[in-house]
């Protein structure tokens, strides 16, 4: 039997095991929406803006490990989706985005709602396809999912002209796909792994630094096993939080610009650095000239282009984190050697001295609500088990510093691109993927307004997200930099006319609670998780406007040159 292109697309999604399709209809995709109407295998989630569709698919992917899938129309539908595509690209999130396109014969004619989606998305996708023949549609979709989910994952765009969705052909979905030009290396080079293990065992002051690659390759367990066996100190990047239990003694907290003093000092002073699934981002390294001056560096990454890009490494290993960790463990067990106990004990002593500085301390006696306290309270009330999404700015850093993630996939934020407006739609995706879990969105009054319209989507699908808005009436991170580096000239960082979020939430059919005193924080959260468990709750928490994120590495400084409180 022959199917139309639109029907083929939906059948492919079904065969690919796609649960949710995040999207927004429009002229070029009407045939596809008609095919959606006639089936009940793939559930379509109607967002209120295409950017939110991509972020929601992203949140779904990060919390479930499955690729997020998006459908938008041509022209503005595609351009609105760009921010979400770029966000997923920077954080290597598997995603397949279908964009409608004007009919084949109209392409290049400046037709209504025409944009060169392939050209516009090229710099921020892993790959993209324009489908020019309905006979190629199924195999192209298979390729898109294969590319998006393997190697270093990333978003793939499939642009489908309207006439292709109406044309018919026989349907068959390939089980497997082979591409001569795409064969990601997943197994690490044995000789290099042996070298790495030898170096690890000879370390006097070892340090482990892991990133989003561990999360993406679902390698938290083998990582935790290996680090516990070795007894080494470990830090996670912003993207890697949850890969190693944050409440464990060997965990030194996050590193980098707003990382902990102990993590950054241990990085700076180590003699062997073991980097796993991390990419030496500038927010992590500080001044590259001053980075880890005494360390030999081992770097495990699936993407060869990440190796020796910013920092030259001594033992590069290209491969999947999971595979390489397993091989390392096998070699460690085989060698029967252990790290130098005495040296390691001395190293830990030094680290404990750094830890004793207590770099995350804040004023707990204040009459004003401290943002740090809000995140700590959220951690306590949710028993550390919530999925936490965030937007971008001060609240993001406080969430990363004060919510101790013991499990992976719980922390969902835009680390690479730093996209304000990410938090709420990402929470929608996370909630759909984890219907029984508590999903909290830690945000600010600036970021939340960038995709506030999604409160409507949340009502439609009954998503009981808990929004924790650290409302300090200012674009906090901008204000902080203006205070430090622009002599307090607060250019455009204040927002006048902030809406009444309680009324706003209520007008969307949700619960709004304003919290103004420290003693009301926990009861309000308990209400949100308790008597309002099944509803979206907007906690508008009025926090201390003057609070800054500490510690901090200023621009151009090394990891050992932190500004403490």
């Amino acid at each position: 039997m022959e199917l139309t292109g639109a029907e083929i697309l939906i059948r492919c999604l079904e065969d690919e095991g796609v649960e949710y399709l995040f999207g927004y209809p429009g002229g070029a995709v009407l045939h596809i929406y008609d095919a959606i109407y006639k089936q009940d295998k793939v559930e379509h989630i109607l967002v209120r803006h295409e950017q939110a569709a991509t972020h929601a698919a992203d949140g779904y992917a990060r919390s479930s490990g499955k690729p997020g899938v998006v459908l938008v129309t041509s022209g503005p539908g595609a351009t609105n989706a760009i921010t979400g595509i770029a966000t997923a690209y920077m954080d290597s999130i598997p995603m397949v985005v279908f964009t409608g396109q004007v009919p084949t014969h109209m392409i290049g004619n400046d037709a209504f709602q025409e944009v060169d989606s392939i050209g516009v998305t090229r710099p921020c996708v892993k790959h993209n396809f324009l489908v020019k023949d309905v006979n190629d549609l199924a195999v192209t979709i298979k390729k898109a999912f294969y590319i998006a989910t393997t190697g270093r994952p990333g978003p793939v765009v499939v642009d489908i002209p309207k006439d292709i969705t109406a044309e018919k052909c026989a349907y068959s979905y390939p089980k497997r796909i082979n591409m001569r030009s795409y064969n990601p290396v997943v197994k690490g080079n044995k000789r290099q792994i042996v070298k790495a293990v030898d170096l690890m065992l000879s370390a006097q002051r070892p340090m482990v630094y892991t990133g989003g690659g561990v999360i993406l390759d679902r390698a938290a367990k083998p990582l935790t096993n290996m680090i516990r066996t070795l007894g080494f100190p470990i830090t996670n990047t912003l993207m890697g939080l949850g890969a190693y239990p944050a409440t464990d003694k060997q965990f030194l907290g996050m590193l980098g610009m707003h990382g902990t003093y102990e993590a950054n000092m241990a990085m700076h002073n180590c003699d062997v650095l073991i980097a796993i699934g991390a990419r030496f981002d500038d927010r992590v390294t500080g001044n590259i000239e001053k980075f880890c001056p005494t360390a030999k560096i081992i770097h495990v990454d699936i993407d060869p282009a990440s190796i020796s890009k910013n920092v030259m490494v001594d033992v590069p290993i290209v491969g999947g984190v999971n595979n390489v960790l397993k091989e390392m463990m096998a070699l460690l067990a085989e060698s029967k050697q252990t790290p130098d106990k005495k040296a390691l004990a001395e190293w830990w002593q030094q680290i404990e001295d750094w830890r004793a500085v207590d770099c995350l301390k804040y004023d707990m006696e204040s009459d004003l609500i401290k943002p740090q306290y809000v995140v700590e309270s959220l951690y306590n009330v949710t028993k550390g088990d919530a999925f936490v999404t965030s937007d971008v700015g001060q609240h993001q850093m406080w969430a990363a510093q004060f919510y101790k993630f013991d499990k992976p996939y719980r922390w969902i934020n835009s680390g690479g691109l730093g996209t304000m407006g990410f938090g709420l739609p990402a929470a929608m995706g996370a909630q759909l993927a984890n219907p029984k879990a508590t999903v909290a969105c830690v945000t600010g009054e600036g970021s939340i307004q960038m995709n506030i319209q999604e409160l409507s989507t949340c009502l439609q699908y009954g998503l009981p997200i808990k929004i924790v808005c650290l409302n300090n009436r200012t674009l906090g991170m901008v204000r902080q930099w203006q205070e430090f580096f622009y002599q307090g000239r607060y250019s455009m960082s204040y927002m006048e006319a902030i809406p009444d979020f309680v009324k706003l939430a209520e007008s969307y059919g949700h619960v709004g609670i304003r919290v103004e005193k420290p003693e009301d924080v926990v009861p309000a959260m308990e209400d949100a998780m308790g008597k309002h468990k099944n509803r979206l709750v907007f906690l508008d928490v009025v926090t201390d406007q003057t609070e800054n994120v500490y510690p901090m590495i200023p621009n151009g400084a090394g990891l050992n040159e932190m500004i403490l409180v």
Binding site: G119, R122, P123, H127, L130, I147, S181, D303, A305
Partner: protein
């Protein structure tokens, strides 16, 4: 250092723009770029001349390899290789003038072919390394040249080594 990178890629629309886009997005420079289908019509071969430190060239190669359409590539400058560029040049050559004879002689010395003749001009086809083509232009002199068009560098390894599937 100057490098000649030879790339085999899927002969798909947009493949060229992926390479060009990569270079502009990451701030790498392209000195010349030529591309055409190979004997296997599903593959295109691109020759790309670029400059950069060892570290930058390493990144360029890694980033090119990361492009899904790139099947295989090689840095020709890492081993013995041959590079050629073709130039068509139209020069003034007034009938029965001394200049007309001189151009004819120069074309002969540089092993060029005169491929079009009018009463006032010659068009010469010349193949060689970039240096040789530059030398010809210098020998003729800018004032005499009406028009030049250069193909950009094509390159191939010496010996049995080949870039193929």
């Amino acid at each position: 250092m100057r490098h000649i990178i030879s790339i085999l890629m899927e002969n798909e629309t947009g493949a060229l723009s992926r390479v060009a886009g990569l270079f502009s997005a990451r701030g790498y420079n392209i000195e010349s770029l030529t591309v055409a289908p190979t004997e296997d019509p599903s593959l295109s071969r691109m020759t790309l001349v670029t400059r950069g430190s060892d570290q930058i060239i390493e990144q360029i190669i890694k980033q090119l390899n990361k492009l899904i359409d790139v099947v295989k590539l090689i840095d020709l400058t890492e081993g013995p290789h041959i590079e050629r560029e073709m130039m068509l040049v139209k020069v003034k050559a007034a009938a029965a003038s001394e200049a007309r004879n001189e151009i004819n002689r120069l074309a002969g010395i540089f092993r060029g072919n005169i491929i079009d003749v009018t009463s006032s001009s010659y068009t010469i086809e010349l193949t060689g390394t970039g240096d040789k083509l530059d030398a010809f232009i210098q020998a003729v002199g800018n004032e005499e040249i009406l028009e030049t068009v250069r193909s950009g560098v094509s390159g191939i390894s010496r010996g049995d080594k080949s870039l193929s599937l």
